[in-house]
Symmetry: C2
Subunit: 396 residues, 2 copies
């Protein structure tokens, strides 16, 4: 018999995926260039030429038995060392290779880190608005994800609500900065305040509380700024990273867990992740892809288009009359919908071939997400359509 638990998950289909499929189908009717598809967070810029050349060099010059051979289950030692050195250089950390676990993108990294730091019955806290897939990542472990209501003024952390949500069962706090879907980048103050609070809670409850930091957008930060590196603020922390956005390799499923050398059991954390992999038969990201990213470890794709698009959209949306917090990074913007029911709002937008994602699935109501990882030319063409939509439907 097919497992009923997984069957039941089928009813919770991703609204983002459904909207993306709608956009594709609509594109077949009217030409995809006429659909303003802001649904999917799929990078629109190519990987760097160096990545492509590096992969070709590996294939042409190296022994295929080596480059396609088994990776150790925690990752290729030299790749882990390269990741550690890069993080140390860039963020003033002191990782060694043993603190790095190579994973299938941030999703795989998070799933491993969550399993390592929780047991069934534990609680994991995260903050609205949040990535909807956090629910399956946490809830299939036997732990429970609880979402702390948003700070809708700035999309930093609502500490009053966090205080109310805390219980002795909280084993981990899952954060995402720069944030999908709000585009907010947590300030140093926010992270320090969170660290101080968790330090107090650890003392009060007498057990570890980990910060699991989801960081795929770490390099997409605007106005020449950089995102504060979370693990510098709190010892019991792990960074979950993906090369999906920074190098535009989402389909290559490559990322890592970086374990804070000062966390509890820091020396065996990556080994524990390897044990988790054993059970799910995963056994590490592909060897060739590990070797490929290690060759370009400090590179990023040309990410400037995202800032260009953000500025265009932010200016247009505020001019039209939307309430919107200016994103500090990512390729998302998260304006307030023009009616309380974000689902109804996004449904009306479809009449204008504007594909917007309602906020309900991100754990808060009344907003919508636009993923502006699309051509700037299309962003520009969408602005008069947004204007017409706001005018005709809401009288703005």
């Amino acid at each position: 018999m097919i497992n009923e638990t997984y069957k039941a998950m089928l009813s919770g289909k991703s609204i983002i995926r459904e909207l993306s499929e709608y956009a594709t189908a609509r594109g077949k009717e009217i030409g995809y260039e006429n659909v303003f598809d802001y649904s999917l967070g799929n990078p629109s810029v190519p990987c760097t030429d160096h990545y492509t050349r590096g992969m070709i060099e590996l294939l042409e010059n190296e022994n295929p038995v080596t480059i396609h051979g088994y990776s150790p289950s925690l990752g290729i030692e030299q790749v882990r060392a390269t990741v550690a050195e890069s993080l140390n250089r860039r963020f003033g950390m002191d990782y060694e290779a043993k603190h790095i676990f190579m994973a299938s993108g941030a999703a795989g990294a998070l799933a491993h880190a969550l399993r390592a730091t929780t047991k069934p019955g534990d609680e994991v806290l995260t903050f609205a608005p949040c990535f909807p897939e956090y629910f399956p990542y946490v809830n299939t472990t036997g732990a429970v994800l609880r979402v702390v209501p948003a700070d809708v003024e700035s999309f930093q952390i609502n500490f009053d609500e966090l205080e109310k949500a805390f219980t002795p069962n909280v084993a981990a706090v899952l954060i995402n900065t720069p944030n999908n879907p709000s585009g907010a980048v947590y300030s140093e103050d926010t992270i320090q305040r969170l660290a101080d609070m968790l330090t107090d809670k650890q003392r009060e409850y007498g057990h570890d509380i980990f910060i699991i930091s989801d960081e795929p957008y770490r390099e997409i930060v605007f106005d020449g700024k950089t995102a504060p590196y979370v693990s510098r603020f709190y010892d019991n922390s792990v960074s979950c990273y993906s090369f999906s956005k920074s190098l535009s390799l989402p389909g290559e499923r490559i990322g890592y867990v970086a374990v804070n050398p000062r966390c509890t059991d820091a020396d065996i954390f990556a080994v524990i992740c390897g044990q988790i992999s054993r059970g799910i038969g995963h056994n590490c990201p592909p060897s060739s892809v590990q070797l490929g990213v290690a060759k370009v470890i400090d590179e990023v794709s040309d990410l400037s288009v995202y800032e260009t698009n953000m500025n265009l959209l932010y200016d247009a949306l505020t001019r039209i009359g939307f309430e919107v917090v200016r994103p500090g990074g990512t390729f998302y913007i998260f304006p307030k919908a023009l009616e309380p029911d974000a689902n109804a709002f996004c449904e009306k937008a479809k009449k204008y071939d504007l594909i917007l994602v309602p906020s309900n699935n991100f754990g808060c109501t009344g907003f919508f997400r636009m993923a502006y990882c699309i051509d700037t030319e299309k962003v520009k063409r969408s602005i008069p359509v947004l204007e017409r939509f706001a005018r005709e439907e809401y009288g703005l």
Copy 2:
């Protein structure tokens, strides 16, 4: 706190991995060419030139946003269709793309298929000798793996023991043909008899019993024969495949689940596998690797060295006086140890720099495994050493 369940798994370290590490360390002392390392099942022949050229063509000529872009969570549609067509052509099946779920090698395929067909408390039966990683694959799902004692005469199935082991809680039977570690290839008679028995048990217990067929060695069969295709014999069956051995791509983590179109819930089985992936954050094998293998779907590496090595070893072992069943495929041979305690036997072999894996971890006692996916020249050099070992330690 670090999860204690996973911590406890650390004590069950893989004996194969330990022996392999011992061989590497010993190689640093005396030169690896002097260590007769039969520990690891790591293919020794390269992938085909076509695979390498195909990957380079993809990287040079295709849009990087496409080849490194997100794969649908069940696999790239065209890749799934290509796999289905290949299986239909080769094995007379009638798969459609919807029956194929792309997975991280056979390990990932098995972990998904086992989760799809069982619930916590269910039993999964497998046959000794078996791959030790079956235990974490099954036991981390909440189901329980039970090992049916071996048919040590032929390493086909011991049906008397299977009958004794059956209970109404059995939800799946996990088989592996061609077999690691015995090298046995199940005959059509064996598979038909198993199918008939499971058909009866399904009727008796009133629920589905799936065959989960682990098939990474499907193309490594000797004497010009082919392995009977398991899903032709039984409707409630899924094939779990890896390109690791046939194309020598073990580190690329690429394989699939092929769902028998006549099994229960055949049309949603792959979709269920996608839901399982959601929870573990896996989201499909890398897009570029999927595209790469699809280009060479019917190809295999030059696998002839394995048959050459098998014949050399089989002839030598029988001449020396070992009892051994002649392998029908794979790159393993599984002789009887020269004393009842296989651990003691393999420990003594280390004195001769012969690295042999004792059978205890494969679920039966008194045998040892040799993985002869190594250079033929080294196999030849190992034979006088095997002779000396058998003579000096056991008087043969």
